[in-house]
């Protein structure tokens, strides 16, 4: 179970909550209300499932109602033919899983909006089929007399028995959801929501992760459909409409998207409220719509955020909000024990073992065009292994484009980039990360929703990306998986210790000061155990003390055997720490050498400062354009 969740509530309140839930049927007035509660439990499973793709991954999914329907009808048809519920359930889950694969594979690589549209279309198609394929689905009248659930020889009857059965399933769904959240896959999902590109370069295969989330969502919905149909013994198509899909979405958002507890709160509210407000008749829906609008305006993070606001206010009332402790400037990192860099030096875990270290970059004739603009013009350079290599140049010279091509954010039209013999051009950023190249970003992209430690753990998981098998292991809670999680945690802590942020490990990443967030990005990149580290303007916005600290850090990284390539404007930093400097201008390399050589180079001075010149005489005879001149690009 999630540690964080158990910490938030004290033990007495846990026991009280548990007791309330177990005793609930005795407190609920009447059969109708009990049926409502059961329906709420089933909806809860659907919404907790939705949370994976929409809450964690941030992708809009309107197909939950359709998946719910598919699960229901498949189960109904199978059990009517005589199959036991216990066989029908997994088959229904498989059916919805397959549907999600068919829908997701083409659309998840597109922008999020397309998934929303595709799921709406899918929902409409499913409903049309359910209504019109009368021979199979029974059309608008649906299917009746669907067999129920038999448990240990006893057939469940009555709402109370179904309540405990459904409660167990809901608890299971919730528990698995929390377990996933606390795992590598959960962190990867949230990372990709916070910054898809920053997740990719840390080795997260974003398309596969989204697919996992989407399939999980559909399977949850399919199981819920199965439970629904076998508890109510009746199914008809009108329940599985787009309006229902919207309702699930609203349940999630009203509670708090991204939080499993939010799902519980939201589902409870929107199961009870329509009944409580039944007297309003048609005005209920108007109120529903207005309520959504108000909530989006005033409480976009859902009801769960109310608690955070309340405790936050209480905390700041009792003591002044403590600022994040400043980076300890007085203690230079190089005096930290050399053993602290051991996580970087532990090569045996890396593919290729000892040969992992000491890799350089060989860039040949790389050209990158954007439409008609040539951002990089046949650039070639070598980065020697184990050195610090700076790339400088005036604004617009192509430096950041260069880093983006190296890390895979852009695909160069021609040329090659080789990392210790492996060609990088054409590979996904996550594949490049696994080949040993990691980076930080100029405009900081930490995963704001995750803690500092969790951010770095995402990087640490770079070389063991979790796929289907990993998901199953996480769900099963195997010892091997727990061991792996512990190892990730240790690596992450070592990386944080290395950059000096270990004391802030549990803080939300978004609450850190700017310079600290930069250090966090470096720690996260280091946790991927890179062979080459790219830093994009690491000193931007830092004061002189922070830049000095950064210089020491870069030297320590190099000393640990990692090749560092960085883009920077801060001259002191570049000159003080680099072994080699390459200068770009207009997308071409114009100079290369030691810092001193480059400083004195005429071409470099001209590129930055321009050539010394006379004041141009604005002679009428020299009006621009009167002499046709060849234009640049």
């Amino acid at each position: 179970m999630s540690r964080g969740l158990m910490q938030k509530f004290s033990r007495p309140s846990w026991l009280a909550g548990l007791a309330a839930v177990l005793v609930l049927p005795a407190l609920v007035p009447g059969q109708y209300a009990m049926q409502l509660v059961n329906l709420g439990l089933i909806s809860l499973i659907v919404v907790v499932g939705l949370n994976f793709i929409t809450g964690y991954c941030g992708q809009i999914n309107f197909a939950q109602a359709a998946f719910w329907g598919i699960g229901a009808y498949v189960t109904a048809l199978l059990t009517l033919k005589g199959l036991s519920f216990w066989f029908a359930l997994p088959l229904a889950a498989v059916a919805t899983g397959v549907c999600s694969l068919l829908l997701g594979v083409p659309t998840l690589r597109l922008r999020a909006f397309y998934l929303a549209m595709a799921t709406i279309a899918f929902g409409e198609i499913v409903q049309l089929v359910l209504v019109h394929w009368e021979s199979v689905t029974g059309g608008t009248s649906g299917l009746r007399n669907i067999p129920g659930i038999t448990l240990f020889g006893h057939t469940l009857t009555g709402h109370r028995e179904h309540y405990y059965f459904l409660l167990a399933w809901a608890a299971l769904g919730l528990g698995l959801s929390l377990r996933i959240r606390a795992s590598q896959i959960g962190r990867a999902m949230i990372a990709l929501r916070d910054s898809e590109i920053a997740a990719e370069v840390m080795g997260v295969d974003t398309v596969r992760t989204k697919m996992l989330a989407f399939t999980l969502s559909s399977v949850y919905a399919g199981v819920a459909g199965s439970l629904y149909v076998s508890s109510l013994h009746y199914v008809s198509p009108d329940l599985f409409s787009n309006a229902q899909a919207v309702l699930f979405f609203v349940m999630l958002v009203i509670g708090g998207a991204g939080s499993a507890i939010g799902a519980v709160v939201g589902t409870a509210v929107l199961t009870v409220l329509p009944e409580a407000l039944r007297f309003l008749k048609e005005w209920y829906l108007v109120l529903y719509g207005v309520g959504i609008i108000l909530m989006v305006c005033f409480l976009p993070e859902g009801l769960v955020s109310l608690r955070q606001r309340w405790t936050g206010r209480r905390r700041s009332a009792t003591r002044a909000a403590e600022p994040a402790p400043p980076v300890d400037v007085a203690a230079p990192v190089v005096t930290a024990q050399p053993a602290d860099a051991r996580f970087l030096k532990a090569r045996s875990a890396m593919p290729g073992g000892e040969a992992w270290a000491d890799a350089g970059l060989n860039v040949q004739a790389v050209t990158q065009r954007f439409g008609g603009l040539v951002a990089l013009d046949a650039v070639s350079l070598r980065v020697a292994p184990g050195t610090v290599h700076a790339v400088i140049g005036p604004n617009g010279s192509g430096k950041t484009t260069f880093l983006n091509v190296l890390s895979g954010a852009y695909v160069a039209q021609s040329g090659s980039v080789q990392l210790a013999g492996t060609e990088l051009i054409g590979r996904r950023p996550s594949a490049i990360a696994r080949a040993g190249l990691s980076r930080t970003f100029q405009n900081i992209r930490v995963y704001k929703s995750l803690s500092v430690l969790e951010n770095v753990m995402v990087g640490a998981a770079c070389h063991q990306p979790a796929g289907w098998r990993g998901l199953l292991a996480i769900l099963a809670g195997t010892a091997a998986q727990r061991g792996q999680e512990q190892a990730l945690r240790e690596t992450a802590l070592q990386a944080l210790h290395f950059v000096g942020l270990a004391a802030l490990a549990q803080r939300p990443a978004g609450s850190l000061a700017y310079a600290q967030q930069r250090l966090l990005e470096i720690a996260r990149a280091l946790a991927t155990r890179p062979r080459v580290l790219l830093l994009d303007e690491p000193a931007a916005g830092m004061n002189p003390q922070e830049s000095t600290r950064l210089m020491e850090l870069i030297v320590a990284i190099r000393d640990a055997g990692i090749t560092v390539v960085f883009v920077e404007h801060n001259v002191r930093l570049v000159m003080g720490v680099s072994d080699t400097v390459t200068v770009f201008d207009f997308g071409k390399k114009i100079a290369e050498g030691t810092p001193q050589q480059v400083q004195a180079d005429e071409a470099v001075i001209a590129a930055y400062l321009g050539r010394p010149r006379q004041r141009p005489a604005a002679d009428p005879a020299n009006a621009a354009g009167s002499t046709p001149e060849p234009d640049h690009a």
């Binding site: 603009l373 005036p394 604004n395 617009g396 000061a513 700017y514 967030q517 303007e537 931007a540 916005g541 404007h569 801060n570 001259v571 002191r572 570049v574 000159m575 207009f586 810092p595 400083q599 470099v604 001075i605 930055y608 400062l609 321009g610 050539r611 010394p612 010149r613 006379q614 004041r615 141009p616 005489a617 604005a618 020299n622 009006a623 621009a624 354009g625 009167s626 001149e629 234009d631 640049h632 690009a633």
Partner: protein, 235 residues
């Protein structure tokens, strides 16, 4: 004409300007130079209203303009050719220029005289008046951005890195026209990374480094000053 005093500006979490002060007198060309990240564009954006200072003041023609919306500031007689040019890519040259006249144009006021002036300055634009802006070269787009700003009949013209990404020959031609525009009565505040060109055309200059003004002088004296080179390339 323009007086900026003790500006402190934040960009999200970072403090980009730590008490920057400069002024521009009517008829001058004043330049802000410095390495990338020094705070030049931030200063310009604060003057034009896209950024609000947390401290300090900006006075234009005797009025306080800091904190006002860009649309309002533009109507007071200040126009900008922004970094990266930002021409309206789907509009033609003529449409881009026409929309530049928005600050003063009321109803059916004719813009033909203003258009003629811009076309005389930049004959290249006249040749391409029906061409869509996205298809033009960098130099042509820069001319269009400056022309668009001029259409607003500004008293003060803000130029943000006009030489960015342009070949030296084009930069020369462009700066000749900038001097011409100034001679026709437009005061200019020029932000440039290309120090030599900026110092050649301007009368006075300010060297920015890390969000502070570290040097201020007439440009003849700045041109050979060692601090300028050090700011870009280190001592």
């Amino acid at each position: 004409m323009l007086e900026v005093r003790d500006l402190h500006v934040r960009y999200g979490n970072i403090t980009a300007l730590h008490g920057v002060s400069f002024n521009v007198q009517a008829g001058e060309i004043v330049t802000l130079i410095g390495a990338n990240g020094a705070g030049k564009t931030t200063s310009l954006h604060t003057v034009s209203g896209l950024l609000k200072p947390v401290q300090g003041s900006v006075r234009f023609l005797g009025q306080d303009i800091h904190g006002r919306a860009p649309e309002a500031i533009v109507r007071l007689g200040l126009a900008q050719s922004p970094e990266g040019r930002r021409v309206f890519s789907g509009l033609t040259v003529a449409e881009n220029l026409a929309i530049g006249a928005t600050p003063w144009r009321k109803g059916r006021d004719a813009i033909t005289d203003d258009l003629d002036r811009v076309y005389t300055l930049f004959p290249r634009l006249a040749e391409r008046r029906t061409q869509l802006a996205w298809s033009m070269s960098g130099g042509e787009q820069q001319m269009l951005a400056v022309g668009r700003a001029l259409m607003g009949r500004p008293k003060l013209l803000l130029l943000d890195e006009p030489s960015l990404g342009l070949a030296p020959i084009i930069v020369e031609q462009l700066f000749e026209q900038i001097v011409r525009i100034n001679q026709q009565g437009v005061t200019i505040l020029l932000v440039e990374q290309n120090a030599a060109m900026a110092l050649a055309v301007a009368t006075r200059g300010y060297l920015l480094e890390n969000g502070r003004v570290v040097l201020e002088d007439r440009t003849e004296r700045l041109q050979a000053h060692p601090l300028v080179k050090a700011a870009y390339l280190g001592g």
